[in-house]
Amino acid sequence: MRFDEVVLAIMKAVDGQRTISSPYHLIKGKKSGQTIQDIGYFNLHPFFGVLPKLEKSDYLAAVARLQSTGMLEPEAEQVRLTARGFEVPLPTTPLNGWKYRGNERRFFARLSLIVQTMSCFIQGQNRFDPVVSDEAIQNWVKTYLHRIHFRDSVVQHEFRMQLESMLERADAASWQKDIIIERLSGFNIGGLTWDQIANRGKIFPIDAQLAAVEVLHASLAVLEEHQPPLLISLLEGVIQQSALTESAKRTQSLFERGFSLQQIAELRQLKTSTIEDHFVELAMNDPAFLYTLFMDATVYEMIHKTSEELKTMRLRDIKQQLPEASYFQIRLALAMRGAGK
C-alpha cells in the first residue's frame, strides 16, 4: 500500500464521523481513549501505529493530494470523501499494527545487528562499528549469537536460508522486499537511507517506510506460522501476549478480582471516565465481554439497531434517539460490535 492509500482506507471507514486529523493520530499510534476505541468501532486494527514518527507535514501533504485529485472534499473539518474517493479500489494489506504495536522495529533492529555481525565474521572482520547503538539490543544479540554458535558456517548458511524463505513466503511485493534488504548492512555494504531508497524507486520516502513495515508485518506472520528454529527466537518479547494497553491491563485484573468500576477508579486514583475507556478497550478485544454487567440486553440491542438505522457511529446521534442509554453504554455496545466481527 502507498501512504495515500492508507489514509484513504481509514477515511473510508470514518467518513463523516471523525475529523480530518483522526487518521493521523491512528497512524501514529496515539494511545488515547478516542483513538483506541475507534479502532474497534471502525475495524482499523491494521493501521494502528504503523508510522509512529509520522510528521504532521507529511500527513497534511497526503491530505492535500487526496483533495487535489478529487477524492476528498476540500476544507471540511470532518472527513468527507467524494463518490470518487469511495470508488477507488484499495489493495489488501499485510499490515497488522494493532497486533504488533511497533514491535516490528525491535525485531528488525535485532535482525540488522545479527546480519551485520555474521556478515563481518564470515569475511574475517571481527571488529566493526555496530549498526544498532541501542545497548539493550546489543546485549540481546550478543546472547543470541552465542547461543546459536554463530561462527559455525553451517549455522550461518542455515540462518540465511531461513531468512530467505521467510521473505519468499511473506505476503508482499518484491519491490517492497528489496527495500527491507536495503535497510540491512554488512561487511563493506552500507544500509541505504530512506531518501536514497526513495530516489532510486522514484517514490516518496514515506512510501518506502510504509513498505518496510508491510514486509515486516508479513514476515512476522510467516514466522509465527512456520516457526523456523533460528528465527523464531527473534520474536521474544516482540509479539504481545495481550493486545491491551498497560493501564487497561491493570484495570482488567482488578475487575477480574471483583472490584466495580467505581472502586477501581478510587483504588487507582483515576477519573471514572478513564476507567470507562479501559472497559471500552476490554470490550473491543474480547467478543465474550460480559456487557450485561453494565446494561440490559435490550438496551444493547437498541443501541445497535439505532446505529444501523441511522447509519452512524456518532455517539450524540444515537444518544438523541435513545436518551435512556448513557454515553458509556453506547460506547461499550459499539465496541462490542467491532470485537464480534
Partner: protein, 475 residues
C-alpha cells in the same frame, strides 16, 4: 615500566603517536597534565593506557552525548569491556543497574551535569577514582565557541572526590583558554604538552565569487576535477540536501547528513562513507564526530564556519593519513552576515535573563513553555547562582562582543591577503609554522596533486533482494 610493551599487550599497537607517550609518562608519574592534541591524534589513548595500570577507576567528563557514545563505541571496538557511559538519557532501570555494579568499571564516562549531583558523587567516591579526565576541556572557557557552564562546576566537586589527579584534554585552545583551563580545573603545576597545531599536509584555499551561482559552479568543478573522499560543509540542513542532490544529478556518489535525520539513516551514511560507497557527504557541522576515516582528501566549506576554532576542527578531518589534502572555503560577499546572526542566535537575550531571574525555583518551566531556550537556560542558571542580574547582563554583553570578535576573525581570514597557514597559527598564539609545499592560496597550490582518478561509474541496476542478501551473507 615499558610503555611500548604495555601498549602492544593492551591494544596491539607497536608504536605511540606523537605526544601520547610524553603525556602518558607524566600521568603515570602522578602529575596533573594539560594536553593539547589535534583531533584524530589518539587523545583517548592518553587515559586508556594509564587506566590499565592505575589502581582506581578513570572518570572521563565529556560534554556531548554523541561524543561520549562515540568514545565508548571506540573503546569497545578496541576490546575494552569495562566501559560505561552515564548520562541523563538513560532509563531509570538501566541507571540502577549501573549504580549497583559501578565498581566493576574501569572507564566511566559521565556528562558534567550528572557529575555534580550529590548522589552520583557519593557513588563515585565509594569506588575510588585514580584519574579525572576533562575531555574537550576548552568547553570550560566562557569565551569559547562551545562553552558548557556545567564544566565550571567540575572544580567544585573535585574535593568531594578526594582531589584526584586531573588530565585536561583539548584540540583547540588559545593561550587565554589554556590559562582558563588551568585556573578553573585548579591544576597543580601541570605538565603542559602542546602539539604543534599546524597540519603541513593540508593546503588551505579561499575562493571568492560574485554570486551564488558561480559559487555552486566552482563547487561542482572542485568535486568533479579533484577527488574525494570529501566533506562539504553546507551550513544549513536544507542546503546540505540541495547540494547532495546537485551532485547526484552530476553522477557523483553523494549523500547528505544532518541532525534532523533519524539515527539509523545517519549511521548508514557513515557506513557508506567509510566503505567508499559514497565519495562526498554534504553536511551540517553535525557530521564529523564518529567519522574515523584517515584518507579524507578534501574539505569544502560552502558556508562560512562561525568561528576559527570550528573551521580548524572541520578542516582537520582531512588528511589524517598525512597525505596531501585540500581545504577550500568558498565565499560570496555577504556570507558573513548569515554567520553573525547565527552566532548571536545562541546567546541569551535580555528578556530571557529577566525571566530567569524573576522565576525563582520554577525557572525550568520557562523552557517547557517555550519562553526561554534550553541553551540560554543552562547558561543563565549558572550565572544566577553567582551574580546579580546586572552582572549577568554585563556578562552577556561581553560574550556578545567576544562572539562578534570570533566571527570577525573568520572575516579576517576570508580577506587575508597573506599566508593562510600563518594567519591560522597566529590566531591560536602558535609559533610561525614552516611553509610547506602547496601551503595555501597565497603561496600557491598545485591542484594537479588532487586530480580525481575516478573509475567509470558502474551503471548496473540495483540488485534484487535475493542478490543483495547473498552479497551481505556470502555463504
Amino acid at each position: 615500566m615499558n610503555l611500548e610493551k604495555l601498549l602492544y599487550d593492551s591494544y596491539g599497537f607497536t608504536e605511540f603517536r606523537p605526544g601520547q607517550k610524553e603525556v602518558i609518562e607524566q600521568v603515570l608519574a602522578g602529575r596533573d597534565v594539560l594536553a593539547l592534541l589535534p583531533t584524530g591524534m589518539g587523545k583517548s589513548m592518553c587515559y586508556q593506557l594509564p587506566g590499565k595500570v592505575l589502581p582506581g577507576a578513570v572518570v572521563i567528563v565529556s560534554p556531548l552525548l554523541s561524543l561520549m557514545q562515540d568514545q565508548v563505541a571506540q573503546l569497545k571496538k578496541m576490546g575494552e569491556k569495562s566501559v560505561v557511559a552515564i548520562n541523563s538519557f538513560m532509563k531509570p532501570d538501566e541507571r540502577e543497574r549501573v549504580w549497583k555494579t559501578l565498581e566493576q568499571y574501569r572507564f566511566i564516562f559521565i556528562a558534567p551535569e550528572m557529575l555534580v549531583q550529590p548522589y552520583v558523587l557519593g557513588k563515585l567516591k565509594g569506588i575510588g577514582i585514580s584519574l579525572l579526565v576533562a575531555d574537550e576541556a576548552h568547553c570550560i572557557s566562557q569565551w569559547g565557541f562551545d562553552f558548557r557552564p556545567d564544566y565550571l562546576r567540575i572544580s567544585e566537586v573535585l574535593p568531594s572526590l578526594g582531589n584526584p589527579q586531573t588530565l585536561a584534554l583539548t584540540a583547540t585552545a588559545t593561550d587565554k583558554v589554556t590559562d582558563e583551563i588551568q585556573r578553573y580545573l585548579k591544576l597543580r603545576q601541570p605538565f603542559i604538552y602542546a602539539h604543534p597545531m599546524d597540519r603541513p599536509n593540508i593546503s588551505y584555499d579561499i575562493r571568492k565569487f560574485e554570486n551564488e551561482k558561480e559559487k555552486i559552479e566552482q563547487l561542482l568543478r572542485m568535486v568533479k576535477n579533484y577527488g574525494g573522499p570529501g566533506i562539504i560543509y553546507a551550513g544549513t540542513r536544507k542546503r546540505s540536501q540541495e547540494l547532495a542532490s546537485r551532485l547526484l544529478d552530476h553522477g557523483i556518489q553523494a549523500a547528505f547528513y544532518h541532525g534532523g535525520m533519524e539515527q539509523q539513516d545517519r549511521i548508514f551514511v557513515q557506513q557508506q562513507f567509510h566503505n567508499k560507497e559514497l565519495e562526498w557527504v554534504c553536511a551540517t557541522n553535525a557530521f564529523g564526530m564518529g567519522v574515523h576515516i584517515p584518507d579524507i582528501r578534501q574539505v569544502i566549506h560552502f558556508q562560512l564556519p562561525s568561528s576559527i576554532e570550528g573551521y580548524v576542527q572541520e578542516v582537520g578531518r582531512a588528511g589524517r593519513d598525512g597525505k596531501p589534502s585540500l581545504a577550500t572555503l568558498l565565499y560570496v560577499d555577504g556570507d558573513e552576515r548569515l554567520i553573525e546572526s547565527l552566532v548571536l542566535d545562541d546567546l541569551p537575550e535580555r528578556h530571557e535573563v529577566e525571566l530567569i531571574y524573576a522565576a525563582g525555583a520554577e525557572a525550568k518551566q520557562l523552557v517547557e513553555q517555550g519562553l526561554v531556550r534550553e541553551t540560554a537556560y543552562r547558561i543563565l542558571i549558572y550565572w544566577r547562582e553567582r551574580i546579580s542580574m546586572e552582572g549577568t547582563l554585563n556578562q552577556m554583553e561581553l560574550l556578545k562582543k567576544e562572539k562578534l570578535r570570533q566571527a570577525s576573525t573568520i572575516r579576517q581570514l576570508v580577506h587575508e591577503k597573506g599566508c593562510l597557514r600563518q594567519f591560522i597559527s597566529a590566531s591560536f598564539d602558535q609559533e610561525t609554522p614552516v611553509i610547506p609545499p602547496n601551503c595555501c592560496g597565497f603561496h600557491g597550490i598545485d591542484h594537479e596533486l588532487f586530480k580525481a582518478h575516478r573509475p567509470e561509474p558502474k551503471r548496473d541496476s540495483a540488485p534484487s533482494w535475493q542478490e543483495r542478501l547473498k552479497a551481505i551473507l556470502p555463504i
